[in-house]
C-alpha cells in the first residue's frame, strides 16, 4: 500500500514537471529564424531586447492597441534580434481584429538612428509558420522607457508610433490599453464641404440594423447600453441628423437609437479635406465638454463614419433627405 502511494506521488510530480516543461517550451517565442546576412552588433541591438506596449500611433494606421517583444534568437551566434507583435486593429467596418507581425531581420537605420525590420504578417489563412512581407517597423533610439518610431503596414503609412518599455514584472494581462491616436493631416476646412448648401440639411440614417433588444424584455435597456460599448461600434437601429451652417460655424445635431436607448449628440468644429469629414462630439449641447470625435468620409449628400463617445462607438451612415 505504501509502495502504491509512493508511485502515485512520484507520478504526480512527474506529470507536473512535464506540464511545466511544455509551458516553458511554448513560451520560447522565436525559434527557427535563419542567421541574417547582415547582423547588427549586439552592442546596438541589445538595448532593444525588451517587451513594449504601444502608447501612441498615427490614427490612419487603424491600430487601437498592441504590444510586442524583441528578443535574441535562441542559440544564435552572432546574436540577432527577432520581434513579435500583436496589434488590435480596426477593420474597415469598425470591427476589431488581431494582427500578428514578426519583425525580421533587423538592420541599422542610417546615422545610427535606431533599428528597422520588415514587418512580416502572420495571416490566419497562411500555412503554419508562413509569413508575408507587409511593411516595415522603424524603432528610433530608446529614451528612458520610451521609444518612438514609425510603421508601414497593409500598404499604407508610414505612421508614427510610440512604445513604452514594459518592466520585468509588468504585464498588460493580454489587454494592452488603447493607444493615443495621433492626428495626422487633419482636415481644416470649415464645414463639411466647399459650400454650405452641399451639407446643410436634414439627414436620415441608412444603416439601421435590427434592434437587438426587441425581444429582450426587461433586459432590453442593459443590452442597448452594452451593445454601444467597445471598439466595434454599436448596433444602431435608427437615427437622424440635422446640419446647420448658414454662414456661422456649422453644427450638427445627431440622434442615434441603440436598442431601447436614444442618444443625442451635438457636433461642432465640422471640418473637411477631400472626402474626409471630422467633428468634435458633445453630449449635452455645443457648449458642454467634448466627449469624443466624429471621423468619416462624405460628400454629395452622404456621410458615413464613426461617432465616438467615450467608450461607445456608433457606426453611422447618413443620407440627406
Amino acid at each position: 500500500m505504501k509502495r502504491v502511494k509512493i508511485i502515485i506521488v512520484l507520478g504526480g510530480i512527474l506529470a507536473l514537471l512535464t506540464s511545466v516543461g511544455v509551458a516553458m517550451a511554448t513560451t520560447g517565442a522565436t525559434t527557427g529564424y535563419p542567421q541574417p546576412k547582415v547582423v547588427v552588433p549586439s552592442t546596438v541591438s541589445a538595448p532593444y531586447e525588451q517587451r513594449y506596449v504601444l502608447t501612441a500611433v498615427g490614427s490612419g494606421a487603424g491600430i487601437r492597441s498592441g504590444e510586442m517583444k524583441f528578443e535574441f534568437e535562441e542559440g544564435s551566434s552572432p546574436e540577432f534580434l527577432v520581434g513579435i507583435s500583436e496589434f488590435y486593429s480596426y477593420s474597415p467596418d469598425g470591427a476589431i481584429e488581431t494582427s500578428l507581425f514578426t519583425f525580421y531581420p533587423f538592420t541599422e537605420l542610417p546615422g545610427g538612428k535606431g533599428l528597422k525590420a520588415p514587418a512580416l504578417k502572420v495571416g490566419a489563412s497562411a500555412s503554419y509558420g508562413q509569413v508575408t512581407p507587409d511593411g516595415e517597423l522603424q524603432m528610433f533610439k530608446i529614451e528612458g522607457d520610451k521609444v518612438k518610431g514609425q510603421i508601414r503596414i497593409h500598404g499604407g503609412g508610414p505612421w508614427p508610433v510610440e512604445f513604452r518599455v514594459l518592466g520585468d514584472n509588468e504585464s498588460t494581462g493580454g489587454h494592452p490599453p488603447a493607444a493615443k491616436q495621433l492626428p495626422e493631416s487633419e482636415p481644416n476646412n470649415p464645414g463639411w464641404g466647399g459650400e454650405a448648401a452641399e451639407y446643410d440639411g436634414e439627414y436620415e440614417l441608412t444603416n439601421g440594423a435590427a434592434n437587438p433588444t426587441e425581444k429582450a424584455g426587461t433586459l432590453g435597456a442593459v443590452i442597448g447600453v452594452a451593445q454601444g460599448l467597445g471598439t466595434q461600434g454599436a448596433v444602431v437601429s435608427g437615427g437622424s441628423m440635422t446640419v446647420k451652417g448658414n454662414g456661422a460655424p456649422a453644427t450638427a445635431e445627431v440622434t442615434v437609437e441603440t436598442g431601447g436607448s436614444s442618444r443625442h449628440f451635438t457636433l461642432t468644429k465640422l471640418a473637411w479635406a477631400g472626402d474626409k469629414r471630422v467633428a468634435l462630439v458633445h453630449d449635452k449641447g455645443p457648449s458642454s465638454p467634448v466627449v469624443g470625435r466624429f471621423e468619416g468620409t462624405g460628400g454629395q449628400g452622404e456621410l458615413k463614419g464613426r461617432l465616438i463617445d467615450g467608450h461607445s462607438v456608433y457606426q453611422v451612415e447618413f443620407k440627406m433627405k
Binding site: I96, H175, P212, T213, E214, K215, A216, G217, T218, L219, G220, A221, V222, I223, G224, V225, A226, Q227, G228, L229, G230, T231, Q232, G259, G260, S261, S262, R263, H264, D283, V291, D309, G310, H311, S312
Partner: protein, 161 residues
Amino acid sequence: MKTRFIAIAALLGVVGIVALAGCGGGGSSSSGSSSTSGSSGSSSDFASAADAACTTADKQIAALGTPTQSEVLQYMETTETVIEKLHSEVQALGGEGTAEKAYTEALGKSVITLNHMTNAARNENYDAVREISDELIELKLGELAETAGLKVCAEVPVTES
C-alpha cells in the same frame, strides 16, 4: 410450517401497506401541486405578481437613464442588483407551467451573465461587456415573458439620455 407461512404473509402485507401508503403520499402531494399549477387562477396570479415585479424593475432601470462613460460600472452594478431581485421575486412565485419555468430559468441565467458583464466593466474591458451581452440577447427574455403571459415583463424599459 403454517405459522411461518402466516408470518411471511403478514410481513408481505405490512410491506405492501407501507408501499401503498408511500405511493399514496407521493400521489396526493403530486396531485396537490399539479392542481395548484393547473388552476388558471394560480397562473394568472403568477402573471400579475411577476408583472408587478417587472414594473418595479423597469422603473428602476429606466431611472438609470443612459450612462456616460464614467457611469457604466455603476449602471451595470445597479442593473445586476435589480435583475437579481426580480429573479428572486419571480422564483418565489413558484410558477409551475412550462412557460413560467422557462422565463424564471432565463431570468436566473441573466443574473449570472450580468455578473460577468459587471466584472468586465470593473476591469474596464468594454469590448468584453459588449461581447457578453450577446448572451443576454440569446436568452430572448421578452419572448419567453410573452409566452408565459407576462405583458409588462415582455416590454423593454424605455430610457432616454
